[in-house]
Amino acid sequence: MRFTLNAREVELNVAPLARLLDVLREDCGLTGTKEGCGEGECGACTVLVDGEAVCACLVPVAQVEGAEVVTIEGLGDDHPLQRAFMDEVGAQCGICTPGMILTAITLGPRPSLAKIRRGLAGNLCRCTGYEAIYRAIHRAS
């Protein structure tokens, strides 16, 4: 099967019902996407599929055939959101951070605090208390 991964075409021979999460980490070697709960509750494994945030633990890889997938690695190392998360200390253990940043990208320019809160409701952080995360997103937008 084929899809676009971080702007590059990839062709893989994988089981169609393998989780996108496992394919990204184990077959593509991109371990920036983290596994938290494995049941769509925590958002740690959030990636973008055709520009929409999804939980990679709940997507059978066959469903991204022909789609554009973006993981945290696809942002490079100097995306404004990455820099803002560092500047505002929007991460502690860091497991939720890739998913937080990818979900934040979908919020569009200058989101209100209410929009940030609602948009990130599916991304759980157990360290920061969220305030620094909200500040980082506000600062980067």
């Binding site: 089981a15 019902l17 769509g40 929409e52 939980c55 709940l58 997507v59």
Partner: protein, 277 residues
């Protein structure tokens, strides 16, 4: 992942008709759309099915249209598309409201209305809305299409009248007259599955449906009759107690659900009772 995925089979239809032929000729197959619930069970190795039918690519089933006076929502319309749809917001705003309270954005981007209906959970967030809207479930097999009133679709806990060779292709929603009202009570606004969920319409005769208080979503027919006939709230709450059969489970208790259901009923009636309704 606790399931050996190499043993699972996924059939990939090119069209709806192709999917229906696969269901008839190559079944039994478990239809798979946004996978937001089904895949949790696959991940945890608690699902018996090993053969699946991938519906995700069937684009014609995503449409939301107005046909005469009837709102038609394709089974693959996601919660996000319901939230964004002007037609849904104009005609059945409580459906958009319910969709907003499903999971988080990631789940709303993948989960589908047809999936919520097919999954047949008593806690499905959109189901009380479809019950009070008196929606029609459109089922299709290779050689026929049939329309089942929502009130007749569920036959028991996680049981529906859908046959193994049929797919839910959409929901048809007639015009709804009266003031619409929806509340979901759960542990948290996002991600949590409901303890009690209610949808109601204050029209010439009230319609009220509750989720998470019985084996299936239920219409409160006794309460509706009583309130429609001018009964007071004490009488209505008494009848509510007879209409519901809540249980203790990992999310809540039967007693709490009874209390909350009664409170929600009172709040619906109070908030929709003004002259503006």
């Amino acid at each position: 992942m606790r399931t050996a995925v190499s043993r699972l089979e996924l059939l990939q239809p090119r069209s709806l008709q192709h999917a229906l032929r696969m269901l008839r000729d190559e079944g039994p197959l478990t239809p798979l759309a946004g996978a937001t619930d089904l895949y949790v069970a696959v991940n945890f190795g608690t699902l018996d099915s090993t053969r699946f039918l991938n519906l995700w690519g069937l684009e014609p089933l995503r449409r939301i249209t107005l046909c005469g006076d009837t709102l038609r929502i394709g089974a693959l319309a996601t919660y996000t598309s319901l939230i964004r749809s002007r037609l849904v917001r104009q005609r059945l705003p409580i459906l958009a409201r319910a969709a907003l309270e499903v999971g988080g954005v990631q789940i709303q981007n993948r989960g589908t209305l047809g999936g919520n209906v097919a999954n047949a959970s008593p806690a499905g967030d959109t189901l009380p809305v479809l019950a009070v809207a008196e929606a029609v479930v459109v089922l299709r097999s290779v050689d026929r299409e049939r329309r089942v009133p929502f009130a007749e679709f569920y036959t028991g806990y996680r049981q529906t009248v859908r046959r193994p060779d049929e797919l839910i292709v959409g929901l048809e929603i007639p015009p709804v007259e009266g003031r619409q009202w929806f509340r979901k009570v759960g542990t948290r606004a996002a991600q949590a599955i409901s303890k009690v969920v209610i949808a109601a319409v204050r029209g010439s005769s009230p319609r009220i449906a509750l989720g998470s208080v019985a084996p299936t979503v239920i219409r409160l027919s006794q309460v509706e009759h009583a309130l429609g006939a001018g009964a007071g709230m004490d009488e209505a709450v008494h009848r509510l107690d007879q209409d519901i059969q809540p249980i203790d489970d990992l999310r809540s208790t039967a007693d709490y659900r009874r209390d909350v259901a009664g409170n929600l009923l009172q709040r619906f009636w109070a908030e929709t009772g003004g002259l503006s309704s």
